[in-house]
């Protein structure tokens, strides 16, 4: 569960107010779109969730942690619960695609054998198997974005947070990635997708939170959101061939692992 109560946050470096009296609650297993114009405060919202920026007022809770009082040494454990796709990707330039993704597993101390298996699997999911040994600067924007997505998924996190994850992808690939998120959501994970691509948002029937100038402008629950917009055949996108073939081969492993992660999380709750 992610909960904001009357949160105000301004950047100390330049005094810019990024969030102003934001109250929102995202329950476990939800799929939420965060939309808003550029500079509205969407990325700042994510920065607060991952404990990268401290709030000036209000209360923020993420899972078992209260971020107002969280200790510096607890931050790594908070972040391991979250799979984050950053707007600027945040890949390590000196590391290959494989190492960049594997890094998130090495951080939690997983053995190399398991790591290889997991990385191969997610690389297939994002259709990058042939780029495993490339370095980020050798990739296109869209490919880098998919590496960032793969790294966010690798750890089977209970919460996926994606900041403009389809910003550099063509419509077909965007659709594939979104339906991948849908699938992960169906398996129990919470998914938060930040985007300014309203057309994409309207292809799905999910809750939509709109931010403007650091304030929540509207918060429309799933069914209404679906009624409000014209649905543009999301089914055809979800049935995409390449993704389906990957899942048939490997989905058992992934589901099992997602479920075992889930158990741990419920144990914690």
């Amino acid at each position: 569960m992610i909960e904001f109560k009357n949160v105000k946050m301004r950047y100390k470096t330049n005094g810019a107010v990024a969030l102003d009296d934001v109250s929102v609650r995202i329950d476990d297993g939800e799929f939420v779109f965060i939309v808003g114009a550029s500079g509205a405060g969407k990325s700042s919202f994510l920065n607060v969730i991952m404990g990268q920026e401290k709030v000036d007022a209000g209360i923020v809770r993420v899972g078992p942690y209260t971020l107002n009082t969280i200790k510096r040494r607890q931050l790594p454990y908070l972040r391991r619960m979250l799979g984050i796709v950053f707007q600027d990707f945040r890949l390590i330039p000196k590391m290959t695609v494989y190492d960049n993704i594997a890094f998130a597993l090495r951080v939690i101390g997983m053995g190399e054998k398991k790591i290889t298996k997991r990385v191969r699997y997610v690389l297939k999911l994002v259709d990058l198997s042939n780029k495993a040994n490339s370095f980020p600067h050798q990739l296109s924007q869209g490919e880098r974005q998919r590496v960032a997505i793969a790294r966010a998924l690798i750890n089977n996190p209970g919460v996926i947070i994606a900041d403009e994850p389809t910003g550099n992808l063509d419509p077909v690939l965007s659709g594939e990635i979104m339906s991948l998120f849908d699938k992960i959501n169906a398996l129990g994970a919470t998914v938060v997708v930040v985007t300014h691509d309203l057309e994409l948002v309207h292809q799905f029937d999910h809750r939509i939170v709109t931010i403007e100038n650091g304030k929540i402008l509207s918060d429309i629950p799933a069914r209404n959101a679906g009624e409000l917009v014209f649905k543009s055949e999301p089914e055809t996108v979800q049935e995409d061939v390449s993704l389906a073939s990957v899942q048939e081969e490997d989905v058992e492993v992934s589901e099992e692992e997602i479920i075992s992660t889930e158990e741990e999380e419920t144990e914690n709750a």
Partner: protein, 331 residues
């Protein structure tokens, strides 16, 4: 309200413990072999930085080591001089045996006197003639033995030399005293100033090299700063991030220590003659390299490793502490 906050906090720590346990179940703790490899890899990847760190550190270690060798040799020299019989006290000619013995006892009673050796009139004369390289028979009957009985005295604590000398002169039946106060004075002032200079040099060099190493590593931080932020954002602990840096510092320190050691051995082996002849002027000799080699090796490697590890930790510390927009402000 405060009560409620407290309750939340307690719950948090329990949750963290559970999370840590879950993490262990997933795969275990720190992948040290991976992290160590990463440190070695960084060392090669940033080779120009590694090279300058090693050069600076080696130069500093070398100066530190040379200073220590000089201090040790001077200490040794002072001890040698102390051991030598620097004072000879002549007994009044014609004093009876009891008086001569009493002079010996009085000498031994002086606190800083550590050795007293009686040299009879005869023995002293013979020794002196031998020193001149002449046969006694040659002079027998021609010149009468001019020397009185004497005592050779060794003293410790050369800084008290003057007062010890006064005490010896004051003893009854001591007619004259021969001493080498000039040499003693020279040596003690030299010891004091050289030791002082060396100690200051060692301290300054230690701090300076730590500073330079940390600054050299800091230069590469411009690119690593981004890496550190990324590592943190995917949940890396501070220890995980620090480990490769520590390995890097460790290897730099180790290599610098070894280089300094090899250069020192070469210098002492090929250029040690100058020091030896200098020391021989004072009747001492240089300490053999083999005597202090193990100590020197340990000192070099330990101080190299400590200086460069502390240097790299200092440069990474603030990058670990700051988050997000605050971290991006760091230069």
């Amino acid at each position: 309200m405060p009560k409620k906050e407290k309750a939340v906090k307690q719950k948090d720590t329990k949750e963290v413990k559970k999370q840590k346990k879950a993490n262990k179940k997933r795969g275990g703790g720190l992948n040290t072999s991976y992290l160590t490899k990463m440190g070695a890899h960084n060392l090669v990847a940033n080779r120009s930085m590694s090279f300058s760190s090693i050069s600076v550190l080696s130069a500093c270690l070398l100066l530190i080591g040379m200073s220590l060798i000089i201090i040790m040799n001077i200490q040794n020299l002072v001890q040698d001089v102390e051991k030598q019989n620097v004072i000879i006290a002549f007994v009044e000619d014609g004093a009876d045996d009891a008086s001569v013995a009493k002079v010996g006892a009085d000498l031994r009673a002086i606190p800083d006197v550590i050795g007293v050796e009686f040299v009879s009139k005869e023995a002293g004369y013979e020794e002196q003639l031998r020193d001149f390289g002449v046969e006694r028979d040659l002079f027998d009957g021609v010149i009468e033995n001019p020397l009185p009985d004497s005592y050779r005295i060794s003293v410790s604590n050369l800084e008290n030399f003057k007062s010890t000398l006064e005490q010896i002169k004051a003893i009854e039946n001591v007619s004259a005293v021969r001493e080498s106060q000039d040499v003693v004075n020279q040596i003690t002032t030299m010891q004091k100033s050289i030791t002082g200079i060396c100690v200051i040099l060692v301290a300054v060099l230690g701090i300076v090299s730590m500073f330079i190493v940390s600054n050299t590593i800091k230069i590469t931080m411009v690119s690593r700063k981004i890496d550190i932020q990324v590592m943190k954002s995917v949940g890396a602990t501070s220890l995980f991030i620090c480990w490769p840096f520590m390995i890097e510092g460790l290897i730099i320190g180790l290599i610098s220590g070894l280089i300094s050691l090899i250069i020192t051995i070469a210098v002492v082996y090929f250029e040690g003659g100058a020091m030896t002849s200098l020391l021989e002027m004072f009747g001492s000799k240089a300490i053999a390299l083999t005597e202090y080699l193990p100590v020197l090796a340990v000192a070099y490697i330990v101080s190299g490793v400590v200086i460069s590890s502390v240097g790299s930790l200092v440069s990474i510390r603030k990058y670990l502490k700051r988050e997000g927009s605050e971290a991006s402000e760091l230069v």
